[in-house]
């Protein structure tokens, strides 16, 4: 015992021999050398092969040295070639402005008269210059004046606007957000053409400097929620944001719950609808997935198509979805409880059929269910990561071939195969993947409780789950709203059912805005 403790002490007290390396944080602008110059930019960026330093002269003003700095692959070369370099090096010759140009006024002259580009800005801070170049803009130096001209020339390979695969619809828009933030914001702006649509930009990530846009509709979104979003985003300290999931995990209210507390979408129409309900959107550069806060549980069982179909149809579809969610969560547990403890509640013929099916099965109903559900999870996970044709084969082999063989070998009962298959199908009826995963996870403890305590165990699990859900909040908004706390109008109009559009006269109560949806019509 003593030797163990001594060894532990030695291990913990051993001095670090490894050299700890650290990426130096990017200095703030006041710490950078001044003045801004091509030479300084070269010292800051020059070692990377993708950085372009193009030196040239203005035609007719050879004494003013010009340098264009940009990152190859992030710029639209056509813009720079045709509207900057060509103008300055060829077309510019003979103009009267050229005659009056000196090193001191060169930049302003180009800005005012000679560069036919929309996004132009004169800067003198080195930090701004580095940010601009690394974001895809070009930087133009005319002489060594301590100033430079930023030219908006961003243009890189992107996959364009495509239909979102994870949120496909039968009826509704086919366009989805893209990895380019500006494309995504433009898609949103096209949906809401009103000056109240706000987009606040910030950068998160010490190294990635990822652009984030917080969007909401002024007057509809609660100022408290907007402030809280900005506060939570502001306190994120991380070196890189590569997907909106990073942000999602860092801004949610309760980290230790399987339930999603932030909604995400790839669809501009879904985000626009959420903003119209007074919610706040968070868009992240480099991913097509936008986040929506606050989120309540009922919304994870709704899809955009619910608002594009007739209300009567939606009532049925939503009912099916709720039944599906309940089956996904409870079907194996109820089967275990009935087969093990409560045979009296089913007809005798069914009880006999279950008993006959289970005869020869070497394990208890609980173990049988857990093993089968686990096998199902493995098949699902294996199929998910493989190319589509192979994934389908895995599904067929897993579900049909192995399932059939297992029943014939009396390893599992046919009823259990039916229950597990039903559970799997029911899981897919849940529109939102994160919620489906949460329910898949909770299914296991529920099965254990059902196997040990029957319906009492299921009751314990469900009431425990209810207490947990009731204690959750998303940005201060109760997670089970509008059921608890009761918001009767929202509950009746757009939760388990959806009222027809002509009856949805007011916004959901989360917005706390009295203005009718029809703008007072």
């Amino acid at each position: 015992m003593r030797s163990w403790t001594r060894m532990l002490k030695e291990l913990t007290s051993r001095p670090h021999t490894r050299q700890i390396r650290k990426v130096p944080p990017l200095p703030v602008d006041s710490e950078l050398p001044k003045p801004l110059s091509p030479k300084l930019m070269h010292s800051l960026l020059g070692e990377s092969t993708d950085i372009i330093f193009r030196e040239f002269s203005l035609r007719g003003q050879e004494e003013i040295p010009c340098t264009l700095v940009a990152v190859d692959g992030l710029i639209d070369k056509l813009i720079l070639d045709s509207f900057i370099l060509r103008v300055l090096m060829v077309d510019f010759a003979g103009e009267k402005e050229l005659e009056q140009m000196t090193v001191d006024n060169a930049l302003k002259t180009v800005y005012k008269f000679l560069a036919p580009a929309i996004e132009l800005k004169i800067i003198n801070k080195t930090g701004d210059a580095v940010d601009a170049v690394l974001s895809g803009d070009a930087l133009l130096f005319l002489g060594d004046t301590g100033e430079a001209l930023i030219i908006g020339s961003r243009g890189w390979a992107n996959r364009g606007v495509a239909e979102p695969e994870t949120e496909s619809v039968v009826r509704g828009p086919r366009e989805g957000f893209s990895e380019t933030l500006r494309t995504s914001t433009s898609l949103l702006r096209r949906k809401i053409k009103h000056p109240s649509l706000r987009m606040k930009s910030l950068k998160i990530g010490e190294l990635t400097k990822t652009d984030i846009v917080v969007t909401y509709i002024e007057g509809l979104a609660k100022p408290d929620i907007v402030q809280e979003v900005m506060r939570r985003l502001g306190r994120i300290k991380i070196d890189g944001i590569l997907e909106s999931a990073y942000i999602e995990e860092m801004i949610e209210d309760v980290p230790y719950t399987p339930f999603p507390q932030v909604r995400h979408t790839e669809r501009p129409d879904v985000l626009a609808a959420a903003l119209l309900e007074g919610k706040v959107g968070i868009m992240v550069d480099g991913t097509p997935i936008a986040l929506i806060v606050p989120a309540v549980l009922a919304q994870f069982l709704q899809v955009s198509e619910d608002y594009y179909e007739k209300a009567v149809i939606v009532i049925l579809v939503r009912f099916i979805r709720y039944v599906g969610a309940a089956a996904a969560l409870l079907a194996p547990s109820i089967y275990i409880a009935v087969a093990t403890y409560h045979q009296e509640i089913i007809p005798t013929t069914l009880a006999l059929s279950i008993a006959a099916g289970r005869s020869g099965v070497p394990v208890t109903a609980l173990l049988e269910a857990i093993l089968m559900t686990l096998a199902l999870e493995i098949v699902q996970e294996a199929g998910l990561r493989l190319p589509k044709p192979i994934g389908q084969t895995i599904g067929i082999v897993g579900a049909i071939v192995i399932g059939d063989a297992a029943v014939k070998a009396s390893l599992v009962s046919p009823q259990m195969v039916i229950i597990v298959a039903l559970t799997a199908i029911a899981t897919y009826s849940i529109a939102y993947y994160d919620l489906a995963i949460a329910l898949r996870l909770i299914r296991f403890p529920l099965m254990l409780l059902a196997g040990t305590l029957g319906f009492f165990g299921i009751g314990l699990g469900l009431y425990g789950l209810l207490i947990h859900l009731l204690s959750l909040r998303s940005f201060g908004h109760p997670y089970l709203s509008p059921v608890a706390p009761l918001r009767i109008r929202t509950l009746l109009q757009d939760t388990f059912v959806r009222a027809p559009w002509w009856a949805l006269k007011r916004r959901p109560q989360i917005a706390d805005v009295d203005e009718p949806r029809g703008g007072g019509q």
């Binding site: 509640i345 089913i346 319906f455 009492f456 009751g459 469900l462 207490i467 089970l480 009761l486």
Partner: protein, 365 residues
């Protein structure tokens, strides 16, 4: 400080008033009141009205304080501490008895071989978790569960309709009105349990003028909903079992559940109904758990700390385990109701209310 909305107060109050009373109500009402005992149920629950309204009137005068704290101002520190101590003891003891009743219910009906400790431990875990999350979550829990309990009870009653024997209803007033009055008296402690809970929860109620009206209406609503449903339940048991059999059944509702058959496919669904009623049990035990905490805070000045929640759970656990005999348990519940809860509620609440009113009149005069 946490707050609950007027609607949550209505639901929470109704859920506490209903609690687990749907189990013994028919046996008590028909046992004391005979064939006409069902008529005593609504008036007995009606006692909750004056008591509830008195407490709300006091809450308006002393916002943000519970009745023990108000009593300190009105009756003096040590008298209030004494009453608070009785409140604390009654809450813990009765809450633990209810916990034992939950265990008894499940053990009798569906899981005969499961050890007592499992039921009590599991229920206490849920109740403790609910209490730890706070009164606001407790209110929301009631908002979700109470409608389900009412629906479950109505379903149980409707599904036993084919077994009604209408001749059991007659003769009406065959034994006169006296047994009904005795039944009212015997059922009155159920209303007093509610009143004692309201005495504690007033500290968390909203203070606005419009809220006050809603709160007062809420007391009315709770009494009418719960009184009516329990009266109908008693009537159902009367019509299905008859007065003689119904007063013999400790848990008549469970026997009622056993008789339910749906489309000759699903039968004996009392285990399914128990799932719903379990929510009522959690609310009732939870209410007394909260009352115990409020008592501890008011009398001993303890802070809202996890150790006190665990200590309280420990006391509930030990007392709950002590009562394992169903008949003995029912007797103990009845004695506590008759000799502790009823006197405490009908003496304490009107006394404080009366003094406050008298003093105000004195000032005005």
């Amino acid at each position: 400080m946490e707050r609950i909305s007027a609607h949550q107060f209505v639901m929470l109050g109704a859920a506490v008033l209903m609690g687990t009373t749907f189990f013994p109500v028919a046996q008590v009402a028909l046992g004391v009141g005979g064939r006409d005992g069902w008529m005593a149920v609504l008036p007995a629950y009606g006692l909750a009205l004056p008591l509830g309204l008195m407490i709300l009137a006091l809450a308006r005068e002393y916002p943000g304080q519970n009745l023990i704290k108000i009593s300190e101002t009105v009756l003096g520190k040590w008298t209030a501490k004494g009453i608070g101590l009785v409140y604390l003891i009654v809450s813990i003891y009765f809450g633990a008895l209810l916990l034992a009743q939950v265990e008894d219910t499940f053990k009798r009906s569906v899981l005969q071989l499961t050890p007592h400790v499992v039921f009590i431990g599991a229920m206490l875990f849920l109740v403790g978790a609910l209490a730890w999350t706070g009164i606001e979550v407790f209110g929301r829990f009631a908002e979700v569960v109470f409608p389900l309990i009412i629906l479950g009870l109505i379903a149980n009653m409707v599904l036993t309709l084919p077994r009604f024997e209408w001749e059991e209803f007659f003769p009406v007033f065959g034994e006169g009105i006296k047994p009904i009055l005795f039944a009212v008296l015997k059922l009155a402690p159920y209303a007093c349990e509610y009143a004692l809970f309201v005495a504690g929860v007033i500290a968390y109620l909203p203070q606005g003028g419009q809220d006050q009206t809603q709160l007062r209406t809420g007391v009315w609503r709770a009494v009418i909903i719960v009184g009516t449903v329990n009266a109908l339940l008693t009537l159902t048991e009367l019509l299905v079992f008859g007065p003689a059999e119904a007063k013999r059944l400790n848990y008549g509702l469970l026997s009622l559940g056993k008789l339910v058959e749906i489309e000759k496919t699903i039968s004996g669904v009392e285990s399914l109904f128990l799932l719903i009623w379990m929510g009522g049990m959690i609310i009732k035990v939870g209410a007394f758990y909260f009352m115990g905490m409020w008592g501890l805070q008011a009398v001993f000045g303890v802070q809202d700390h996890v150790k006190w929640y665990l200590l309280l759970a420990g006391v509930f656990f030990v007392i709950g385990l002590f009562f394992q005999n169903g008949v003995e348990l029912v007797q103990e519940l009845s004695v506590t109701d008759d000799y502790l809860i009823l006197p405490l509620a009908i003496l304490w609440i009107p006394l404080v209310w009366g003094i406050v009113r008298w003093r105000r009149r004195g000032k005005a005069g």
